[in-house]
Amino acid sequence: MIVSDNLKPPLMRDVVIDHIFEEARTDKNILFISADFGAAALDRYRMELPDQFIHAGISEQNMVDLSSGLALSGKKVFLYAMAPFLTARCYEQIKCVIASMNLPITLIAVGVGLGYDHATLTHFTPEDIACMRALNDIEVLTPADAEAAKEMTNIAIKNPDFRYMRLDRQGLAPVYNGQFKSLYRQGFGHIVKGRSVVIVTCGMLLQKALLACEDLIGQGIDAGVIDLFQIKPINGQELAKVLAGYKAVVTVEEQSLEGGMGSALLEAMVDYSVCKPVKRLGMRDGYAVVNGDRNDLHELYSIDTSHMINAVLELMEFSG
């Protein structure tokens, strides 16, 4: 599998909402609730299905509490907001009334990580993986392309459960080319198979990891790439088998290094006795408000393509 050329991939949120819309037309128990966050697809949804759309106000606490009563009454509830406000902002509500009762509610967050680049720190979610994966019985999912997003949505509709879907703000170029469905249960995609160092990432940074890998292969290095789209529950058993075929691991994420995707992978490696050199790239303490687009931020936080390449080269040297 390689990154396909596609000039304008659809926005992740539109892919997800359009799919929910199609199902909601025949399933009156599907309810979509927004805390004043829109989408082109949502305009159609609320126009055509006004009884299955709720505007909760810019009141994420209310939105989550409300969803619990609806879910306990048999409704299939989708909560939708900008990522920072659907997670840390109402974490107490999610913990108490969704996680504690393990209610089948899907949280759809848009703009994870550094997606809202120019909005800076208030709109970043460098901690969303850490805080959300700590919740009882949650599934944490990060689709890397529209196909993955659509299949994850499909599962959320067909098999409602407590899920957190981390959507990128942008549309992401296709990666899976029809193969995601068969990979869903595995929890990760081994996108490029290699034998030296594997780069593990998820979401938007997969695009950059693939570029880094291409560069490394050009240098004669047999690098690989894994899309760890399901961070919880993490499939440590299968990951261990795949990682066994590599000498070292690089993780890269738009997350704080404390508790993020790299941490989750390290925990799985320890649990399954996979002992390899690991280099984690992510956000370190000390970040402050800066202006710049997402590429600038990746460079600033040392999570861009060239830092991925350098990390692989360093590990190659270290691990022989």
């Binding site: 009156k28 009884d51 709720i54 909760a56 106000g57 009141s59 606490q61 209310n62 939105m63 989550v64 509490d65 409300l66 969803s67 619990s68 009563g69 609806l70 879910a71 306990l72 009454s73 048999g74 409704k75 107490e92 509500q93 108490c96 009334v97 504690s100 009762m101």
Partner: protein, 272 residues
Amino acid sequence: MNINDLQAKTIWLRQQLFEMVMRPKRGHIPSSFSCAEILIALYYGGVAHVVPGKPEDPNRDRIIVSKGHAAMSQYPILADFNFFPKSELLNFTQKDGLLGMYADFRIPGIEGISGSLGHGVGMGAGFSMAARQDEKGHKTFVILGDGECYEGSIWESAMFAAHQKLDNLIVIVDRNKLCIMGETEELLELGDLESKWSSFGWHSCTVDGHSFDELLSAFSLVGRTDGKPLAIIANTVKGKGISFMEGRSEWHNRMPSNSQILEARAELGMED
């Protein structure tokens, strides 16, 4: 039940709760005692539709004690409704017991988890919206603490419920004027709660929360279809029924001494 029977049932509830708490020496008596008449009116006064032996009845009215430290007040009532064996009351907070310090939704008759304040109105609005969407006639009653009204989430959901015209949602504020550290009006003034709720678009009124005449009169407003949710501010006394606890914040979760237990039992009309 007539008012005399309701009063007798309230004495029974306080006795049951006192015994339930004194076994493990764990629980919140004053907060539970302040809302005793409110709960008795709901369950036995012909206000809420709850059918004995049928905790899962789809048409039941939903009753949420959002001030979760007092949700244990429901336990003797739910046992009385044959939702679970009365013997469970003897195992309150015990290792293999069904009943915990705070109510959990796995207990038959408990609609949602509680213990953290501020969730009940939103959760109740969810039950009410689902009922309306499903064209069901049941109602949702939410008992709030007045101290709980400090939580901003209460007001987010209050605004929402009024906008959605949820006249099948009823809030009863247990206005005992105390929180853990003292008197609400001294610590951080809550002020005129009736006008606060009405300014949020609710129909609201204030009653004596220990008077069945006044409570039942307020509950006669349940079932209106004017598109407004109903907030009843029930003025109460925290610790009502045990004189040395009444109106004293330090008793929030303190346990009485042996001599105080005897004194309390005598005041509650319990035989030795």
